[in-house]
Symmetry: C2
């Protein structure tokens, strides 16, 4: 199976939703699943689900559905969630701490293995089993390509520049500040306030 | 200006991004803005931006752009971000604590004003200026229609049922568990692990 950059981004964004749904079904012992069941559980149309899967080759059995375990393994493989991924986190504030303790990451094979901050009061302290390290001692070449940034807005770009110089290629940005795009580097923005704002908009339509 | 439920959801999801961008521009003292500048700052195409705005009536001046402050006020008004909104939070764990202390909410007129948990060890303790209250004493009629849920996955549906019974109409769900849809109630799902998974997928394409 060859990956292509041409697969639409909304398809990629839906894959983890299918994955989460299949993990749940497997846990409940359900061996077979129809696209209609996936649809009702994820809120994504069954036709959309089948189209999304079609980008990655043939799945399922005509008029029969999918073997839960098989489909789960295939999606895990596509998403590379079938192996362990190390993550580095910058910014040991409240949100950083919460993310380090967030059990959901480990369930999907993501492990925050290092945490950095620039606050002398925090450096050396522990969060769970991790010791907060000095950002000034960030390695020149970082061994993990995945980083989460939860620093203050005004420090964001500086931290991102440092990470990129050290070879970090993918950044999950919680700072609410836009990070400049750079070729060869990918950024996902998590804007918690946006979500509340969208919720509010629809609330007013109810 | 009449709101319509027919405005595409992606448009609604982009409005907060424009809002954030305009807040930033206003802070920097920029009085006029072109759709091309909005495009370069948000990463959304200028044609898309203009189309999104067109759902809400006429904006901007031909060949001239937009008055930053005026556009900001209009988007704030559409999104109802021009007035204060109370929010109740259920689940005083690490993530709940981080959200209570998250400064971004207040900047957008969202205020977490009450926090509930079911853990006797937490009840009565303080997070910032808020005292953690017993979920069993949740009011029969909640005065705020907006809630954030950061409880354990297995408690999610129970908490949601309680909230809905008390008249909460809009829920921001951080539990990683899907909440059953109910007419007249809106849910937005924040899946932090999904974001890492999407990031990982694109990383592997680089």
């Amino acid at each position: 199976m060859k990956k292509s950059a041409k697969i639409p981004q909304p398809t990629i964004v839906r894959l983890p939703m299918y994955f989460r749904c299949l993990v749940e079904l497997k846990k409940n012992g359900q061996k077979l699943i129809s696209s209609e069941e996936i649809a009702s559980k994820t809120g994504i149309k069954s036709s959309q689900f089948r189209k999304d899967l079609s980008y990655f080759g043939g799945f399922g059995i005509q008029g029969y559905g999918y073997k839960t375990d098989e489909l789960l393994k295939k999606i895990a493989h596509i998403m590379k969630l079938d192996r362990r991924h190390s993550v580095v986190l910058i910014g040991a504030g409240n949100l950083g701490k919460a993310l380090i303790k967030y059990p959901g990451f480990g369930h999907w094979n993501f492990y925050i293995e290092k945490v950095y901050d620039n606050d002398p009061k925090k450096i050396g302290k522990k969060i769970g089993s991790l010791t907060i390290q000095d950002i000034n001692e960030f390695p020149k070449k970082c061994s993990t390509p995945l980083a989460i940034v939860t620093v203050r807005p005004e420090s964001t770009q500086q931290v991102v520049d440092l990470l990129r110089k050290a070879g970090v290629k993918a950044i999950l940005n919680f700072t609410g500040t836009k990070i400049n795009a750079v070729k060869g580097s990918i950024v996902r923005q998590v804007d918690l306030t946006n979500e509340l704002a969208v919720l509010l908009y629809y609330l007013e339509l109810k």
